[in-house]
Each structure stands twice: as C-alpha cells, then as structure tokens.
C-alpha cells in the first residue's frame, strides 16, 4: 500500500490540481471550447485536490490506534529567492491546523463547485445579442467557463495559502484570493452595483493587506526570515520580545531618545497588530467589515465559497497560524492573554455583536447571512484574542461547513423564487401576477420597500418549506448549527469559546468578561435573526406568486446541501468536552482538542474543567432567541403584516439605525471619501490661487529679464550656435560616410577599438 506519510509530503499537489484545472479552462476559453465541460474540468480538479487534502489530513492522524494524538508538523522547502539578509523559500508546512483546514476547504469547495455547475447554468441564456436580441449562446458559454476558471484559481489560492510554509508565500496566495474575490464579486459586471461592490471589496481589504505587508517586512527585518518554523521557535520569539518598546527601538536607530504615541508598546506587539490588520481586512472585522455584505452582489456559490467558507476564514487562519507571535510576551503559557491580544479580542467581540444586531433588520436573504458571517468571524477572532485557540479553530471548521450550507441553501431558495416569478409572469401576465400581492406599504422612513421582482427579498418569500422540502430541511440543519442548538456542530464550537471566556473571566481578565458577555448576547441575537429568516422564508403562506410557484432545485444543487448538512449536524461531535454530561466521555474525551491543542512554538493548551453555567447560558440565549423569533415572526403570516414586528417592538428609529448598518458606510462616505475629495478640492484651489499666482509673478519677472537676454542672445549666443552647427554639420557629413549600413564594416571598426585596448596592454 501507499505510505500515507509520503503521500502527505507531496501535499503541494493539492493546489496544483486546481491550478491545472484553471489553466485547462483558460485554454478552453481561448480556443472557444468553454462551456459545460469547463464545469467538469473544474470539478475534477477540485475533486482531486479535495481527495488529496483529505489524504493529507488522515496522514496527520498518524494512521495508528492512538489516532488524534499530537500530530507532528511536516514541512518541505525549496529555496526560491536569495535575498541579502536571508532567503525566501517556497514550501509546504502541514501541521494539525493546516491539515484540518485543508480538508475543510477541499470538501467545502468540492460541494460548492458541484452546486455551482447547476446554479450557473443560467449564464447560458443570460446574454443577448444587442443587435438582434437573440440569446448569445457563445458569450454565455464563455462566461460560464470563465466563472469556473476564476473559482478554480480561487481554490488554488486558498489551498496554497493554507499550505504555505512562510509568510511571503502566504501573502502571494492571499493576494491571488483577493484578485479572485474581485473578479468573482464583479462577475456580473454589467450590473453597476456588482462592479461597485467588487471595487469596494478590493480596496477595503487592501487597507488591511498594507498592515499585513508591513508586519511581514518588520518580521523579516528583525528576524531575517518569514518561515513559520523558524519564526515560531521560542528563540525567535524571545528575540522579537528582546527588541523592547517602540520608543527604545526608534531611539536606538536615530541615536537619541524618542517619544511617539503608543511608544511604550513593545515592537512585538506592533508587529502583531500590523499582521492583525490583514486579518481585519480579509475576515471583515470592524471597522473594515463594510465590503462583505456588498460582496453578496456576486453569484451565490461565490458568496458561499469566498465570503463564508474559505476566504474570510483565511484571516482567522492567519491569526491562528501566527498565534505564537501574538502571545509571544507569554510564550511559555500560550493560553495567557498578552498585550496585542486585548486588541484582537476587543475587535472580535465588538464585531460579533454589532454585525449580529445589523443582521436583525435586513431583508435580503443573503445579506442576513453575510452579517451572520461577520458576526461568527468575530467570534473566532475574539476567541483567539482570549487564548481560546482550539475553540477558535474548531469554530472556524464547523462554521465553514454550516455557513457554506446556509449560503448554498439561500441560493437554492433564490433560484426557486426566480423560477417561480418567471413562471407566474408567463402564466398570468405581468400586472395580474403581482396585483394579488401588493407591495408592502411604506411604513418605515428610510427602509426600502420590497421590490416584488426581487427574488432575494425575504418579504417576497414565505411558505417555501412545502415547495422546497430538501432545501428547507438542510437549511434548517444549518440554522440550528449556527444558532448553537445542542447536538448540532455550532453548539459545541460556540460553547467552547464561551466556556473558555468564562473560565478566563474567573482568572480575572476583564477582556474575557467582555468577550463572554458580548458573545452570549450575540448568540441570543443570532438565534433571533436566524429564526426570523427561517420563519419569513419557509413558514406561513407565500407572500408572492413567485414564492407560491417556486420549484425544488436541481439534484446537482440539492445533494451538495445534503452532504454539507451532514457535516453541520455531526462535525461538532469530535470536540465535545470530556466532562460534558452523558456523552462527553463516551465520544472519546474531546479528540479534537488533543489533535489541535499544540502550537508550532511547542506550547500546548490545557482543556478546562467543564462548567455548566456558560453552557446553560448559551443554550438559554439560543432558545430565547428562537422563542422571540417565533413569537414575532412565526405566528402571523408574513403577508398579513404591514410593518416589521421588530420595528414595532424596538421602535422605528432604532430599526432604521440597524437597517442602515449603523450608518458606517455613510460615515465612511462622509469622512474618508468626502475627506479625500475635499482635500483634492483644497489642493485644486491652492493650485489655482497661490501657486498659479506665484507662477504668473515669476512669469512676469521672467518676461522682463527675457528682453535683456534677447539682445545678448541675438548677438553673442546665436553666433556661437551657428558656429557649433556648422562644425557639427561638417562632422556629420564625415560621420555619415561611416554609417554605411554594412554590418561588417561596423564590426571592423569595433575590433579596431578592441585592438587599441589590447595594444595598451601589450605595449
């Protein structure tokens, strides 16, 4: 049989398969053969990658009886670019964190690709010839193929990022993902909103990437390497700590004492915060979260893949990967909370709650999920911030599956409603079809009415549970997982985060208390808005004829949902705390913790004693969230309501505040964007008055002095110029003879020159 360890050592094949698929599809497009077959190529590529990533994951289990015991890190390197102070290399690094994430990405991407092959079939008939108005099948085929080229490249980026053995390589793949994200969000770039969203996503994440890049450069400058193995060595971390405070470091460079704002912070903390900037951008943490909801302009599989399951996880993965640097002040006790981690925890906790509350007041089915993604990423980030490393990674993995499931489920719903609307339109004619179901009267100022033709607006849905039973069942499984209902996967991971926070709170960390309180509150809000979504979409009578006629989606779309729902339901069982009543010990004593609880730097995490209080609190929060959601949205049919029940409970102004997402976009528009426009205007004014005035004044002086010069010019200078011209004319005439155009003559002259040098040496 194969040696499973050596199979794992060739893990670089994982990104290669999808890269090959990308190249193959590109060739297909160039030769005009793109189309259905491109989807097969992409699925084959990601299927091979997914299979191989699972093999790699199994290899890290050791394949022995004591499976799930501490797996050693494997790494391979190839020197790539020698630099003055060090060496950039290209390599792979596989440790439990990387292997588990790799397997997650492989499986989720495979499911999403299969789903997309059916979901994107609309492309074939989407494009019409502008002159004849007929469907342009060639363009549709090429666009369909192009979509799969992009997602294959994206999967390559994610695989490569997870496998990277150093930060520079990771940054490379990170940026590939950024590029694909841009291309895919703006995939329907004929829609101005999609083009706008793509630009926004790209530029917002760029702000964070700048921080990441600065952090990498600082690490390279201080430690001479960006290799994870070397960076995470206790000696390197100690060296980083040894640099001391920013003031001291700058003072040492400049030769005198310096005091800068925040100068008492250690350089190690500065590096960590710069690196964290990258995560804030990529994982859509406050204040750079604004791009993710807009990114829902992309096709739904893109939302599922990039903006739920994988790419946004990359930011969290980066913090987990670099965790020893964040905790380098307390290197011997990795679960202690060191300086930069306070910032991480605070940002995460704030994001978790803010995004969840915004999610309560959204109507777009995908936007609700987008805010829920931001909120859940906030959970992971705050967990890392309080040293709950294992819980954060656990939540990263479970969340990826159930969130991919939810997004794909929402795509299935949108698809169904779209078909239903189309059918209703064909059946009754346009006006008739919607006359029976008038739009909601405008009752809330500043909240847009439902567009009866918008297949994504939840106010146009309702009753879909009966029309789309499989979609409903799987969506419900994902929702139960997300809201943290016991037994479903999300419960175990979310509960572990909150339990860790509670435990740290007992140790007297105020930040842990903040995390616990905000996290539990966010759990309540999450349960509420997800209940709202489920009841609005699936329960009650249909709100429009579109929803009434929505068919169940194609098998290629539904079966991936079923597979993902299995993960959403059962994955959590690998991480049940040992002391959990009834089932904890029976499930093997938290094998996930044993597998994941070690760092590259050598530290490891203790699992805490089980405490019933945080578990009961989170169950209570989830249950009351569901209860409230049922009370407000489950009992009365959606169509019968004129105004959103939430608005009547919390008041219209507060609802509007949430609906407008705390006006963060407007704030950025008013400050950053307006500010830079104002600065440009000021510059322009300065140009026109001060600088132009100075220029004009200088011009006047110049003009006066020119008159004097003119006299000198015409007499003295012109004479000289004429002489020079005459001489060079003569010389040119002579030189022209040399330019005969005969190569051999040039060569002969060149060798005369060589001879002169030789003669200088000989004589």
């Amino acid at each position: 049989m194969f040696d499973i360890a050596s199979l794992a050592a060739n893990a670089w094949l994982v990104p290669l398969f999808t890269a090959l698929a990308f190249v193959t599809i590109l060739i297909q497009i160039w030769t005009g053969r793109g189309g259905r077959s491109s989807a097969w190529v992409a699925i084959a590529g990601v299927g091979a990658s997914g299979l191989y990533s699972v093999v790699v994951f199994l290899a890290t289990l050791g394949g022995r009886a004591e499976a799930l015991s501490h797996a050693p890190a494997m790494s391979r390197r190839l020197d790539w670019l020698p630099l003055g102070a060090g060496q950039l290399s290209f390599g792979i690094l596989i440790d439990p964190l990387g292997a588990a994430t790799l397997a997650m990405v492989g499986i989720a991407c495979l499911m999403i690709f299969i789903y997309a092959s059916a979901y994107m079939a609309g492309e074939f008939t989407l494009y019409t010839d502008p002159t004849t108005g007929a469907v342009d099948a060639a363009v549709g085929r090429a666009r369909y193929a192009r979509f799969f080229a992009y997602v294959s490249l994206f999967a390559t980026g994610m695989f490569g990022f997870v496998l990277s053995s150093n930060l520079v390589q990771a940054l490379l793949f990170w940026e590939i993902m950024g590029l694909c994200s841009f291309l895919l969000i703006g995939f329907w770039n004929f829609k101005p909103s999609a083009a706008q969203a793509a630009k926004k996503a790209f530029m917002t994440t760029r702000i964070g990437d700048m921080g990441l890049f600065i952090g990498i450069m600082m690490l390279f400058a201080f430690l001479g390497t960006t290799d994870y193995d070397t960076l995470m060595k206790p000696a390197s971390l100690a060296r980083l700590q040894g640099i001391g405070s920013i003031d001291g470091w700058l003072g040492g460079m400049l030769g005198h004492a310096v005091h800068v704002p925040l100068g008492s912070l250690s350089v190690a903390a500065l590096v960590a915060i710069c690196l964290f900037g990258g995560s804030v951008g990529k994982s859509a943490q406050f204040p750079l979260h604004v791009w993710l909801p807009d990114a829902m302009e992309g096709p739904t599989p893109v939302s599922a893949m990039i903006h739920a399951a994988t790419m946004v996880s990359a930011g969290v993965f980066l913090i987990a990967r670099l965790y020893p640097i964040f905790s380098s002040a307390t290197v011997d006790h990795p679960d202690m909370i060191s300086g930069p981690m306070y910032a991480v925890a605070a940002v995460g906790a704030l994001t978790a709650l803010l995004a969840a509350t915004i999610g309560m007041a959204q109507y777009d089915i995908k936007r609700v999920l987008a805010y829920s993604t931001i909120s859940q990423l906030g959970y992971m980030v705050m967990a890392l911030g309080i040293g709950a490393y294992v819980a954060a990674v656990f939540h990263l993995l479970t969340h990826a599956f159930f969130k991919a499931l939810l997004f794909l489920g929402s795509g299935s719903v949108i698809h169904g409603v779209e078909h239903g609307m189309h059918e209703a339109h064909e059946g009754h004619g346009h006006d008739q079809g919607h006359a029976a179901h008038p739009a909601h009267p405008s009752t809330i100022l500043g909240v847009a009415d439902a567009d009866p033709h918008d297949p994504q607006d939840m106010r146009n849905m309702g009753g879909l549970g009966k029309r789309m039973p499989l979609t409903y069942a799987t969506f419900l499984a994902g929702t139960l997982a997300l809201t943290g209902i016991p037994v479903f996967s999300g419960f175990w991971s979310k509960d572990e985060i909150l339990a860790d926070a509670f435990h740290k709170m007992g140790d007297g960390h105020w930040i842990a208390a903040l995390v616990w309180v905000l996290g539990t509150a966010a759990a309540f809000v999450t349960a509420f808005y997800m209940a709202r979504q489920v009841f609005m979409v699936f329960a009650g009578p249909p709100a429009t004829s579109g929803a009434a006629k929505a068919p169940e989606s194609a098998p290629a779309m539904v079966y991936p949902l079923v597979v993902l729902s299995l993960f959403a339901v059962f994955l959590g069982l690998v991480g049940v705390p040992t002391a959990f009543p009834l089932i904890g010990a029976w499930l093997g004593g938290n094998p996930f913790h044993h597998y994941m609880g070690h760092l590259l730097s050598g530290g490891s995490f203790e699992s805490h004693a089980f405490n019933a209080l945080p578990a009961l609190a989170s169950i209570g929060a989830a249950a009351s969230g569901w209860g409230l959601g049922y009370a407000m949205y489950g009992r009365r049919p959606a169509a019968a309501r004129s105004t959103d029940p939430l608005a009547s409970v919390i008041g219209v102004p507060l609802f509007r505040l949430l609906y407008r997402k705390y006006y963060v976009d407007e704030l950025y528009q008013a400050t950053v964007i307006r500010g830079s426009v104002a600065l440009s205007n000021f510059d322009s004014w300065l140009d026109r008055t001060a600088i132009d005035g100075a220029v004009n004044g200088a011009g006047w002086i110049g003009e006066r002095s020119s008159r004097v010069n003119n006299w000198i010019d015409s007499r003295v200078v012109d004479g000289t110029v004429a002489l020079v011209a005459a001489v060079s004319g003569e010389m040119s005439r002579w030189m022209r003879w040399l330019q005969s155009g005969r190569i051999q003559q040039y060569l002969l002259l060149a060798f005369f020159g060589v001879l002169i040098f030789l003669a200088m040496n000989v004589l």
């Binding site: 051999q744 002969l748 060798f751 001879l755 000989v762």
Partner: protein
C-alpha cells in the same frame, strides 16, 4: 611526447580547417572545411580531459550545426557560383585579425597564469612545504611525486567517470539557473527560427 604529437595533429586539423573555411572561394566548400575544424576542436577538448564536451562538440557542431549550415547554403545560393568570395575590406580585416592573434598570443605568453595542473602539483606543493622549501609552482617536480597521486593507467590526473558525474551535478546544481535560462533561450530561438523562416 605522444601528447605533443597528438596536440600538434589536432591543432593542425582545427586551424587548417579554419583556414580552409576562410580561404575557400565556394561557400559550400567552406562549410565542409568547417566540419573538419570542428572535429579538430573536439580533439582539443579530448586532450584537455573534457571527454563529454568533446562528444558534445561532435554531436552538436559536426552533427547538427554543420548540417544546418549546409542546408541553408543549398536553399539560398547557387552552390557552384565561383564569384569573388571576399569583400573590399578583406585586407583591412586581415590586418585586424592578425593583430588580434598577435596581441592575444603575447598577452597569453607574458601573463603568469596560476596553473594548478592535476593532483601531482598539489602533492609536490605539500611536500615542498613540509620540507621547508619554497611553496609554489616553481617547486621541483619528480616523476615519482607525480605518479603517486595518479590512478593507475591514467596519466593526466582526471578521473574520467567522475568528470561526467561532476558536470551533471554542476549543471543541475549550482548552475541550475543558467541551465534553465539557456534552455528557455534555446526554446525561444527555435520557435523564433520557425516563425521567421516560415513566412
């Protein structure tokens, strides 16, 4: 002694062939002389202990490039044309070329090259140093010293098997980048040649 004779022979072939190339009136005959000169150069490589290079020289130059040149001649010119072969600057060219060879010869002769020929020289140096004598190429050399470091039946100090192995290791090791670059250059040149010659 036998080496001197061999050297004289291959030199004569190489230089004689080269002179034939430039002296022949007919370009086709020139090409045939060129083949002879290439063979002579291959002999020089063999004498210098670079066997692989000698074989390469025969394969590439004699086998490939010469045939290519002959083809080009056949495709482009009247093979039997007997018109003037040299242009008007031939005399100047002769002066330049002979000055170059004279200057290079003088320079090559006058310069004190740091010659370290084979194992023998090293052994002599080490022994001379041990005896407190002068260290350097001028140390006295005896036949026994030289033979001591030689593998049996091999008088020039080059281990033939290792020669090729080392060359391979060097090409795919420290010179890997140049190796890949030259491969790329070759590929591009061949594609370019096809494109240029086709239309």
């Amino acid at each position: 002694m036998i080496e001197k004779v061999a050297f004289g022979l291959v030199t004569a072939v190489a230089l004689g062939g080269a002179l034939g190339v430039v002296a022949a009136r007919n370009v086709f005959v020139s090409a045939l002389w060129l083949v002879l000169s290439f063979i002579g150069v291959a002999g020089l490589y063999a004498l210098l202990g670079a066997d692989f290079l000698a074989a390469t020289q025969v394969l590439i130059y004699v086998g490939a490039i010469s045939v290519l040149i002959l083809f080009a001649i056949m495709l482009t010119s009247n093979v039997m044309s007997d018109e003037r072969a040299n242009n008007r600057q031939a005399f100047l060219a002769f002066i330049v070329a002979s000055s170059v060879v004279a200057a290079l010869g003088v320079l090559g002769y006058r310069t004190d090259w740091p010659v370290t020929w084979g194992d023998g020289a090293t052994i002599v140096r080490v022994e001379a140093a041990a005896a407190g004598g002068a260290v350097g190429a001028s140390a006295p050399v005896t036949a026994t010293d030289g033979a001591a470091g030689q593998p049996a039946g091999n008088t020039d100090g080059v281990n033939r098997d290792e020669n090729v192995v080392q060359l391979g290791t060097a090409l795919l090791g420290e010179h890997l980048l140049s190796f890949e670059v030259i491969s790329l250059v070759l590929l591009v040149a061949l594609i370019g040649a096809i494109v240029i010659a086709r239309d």
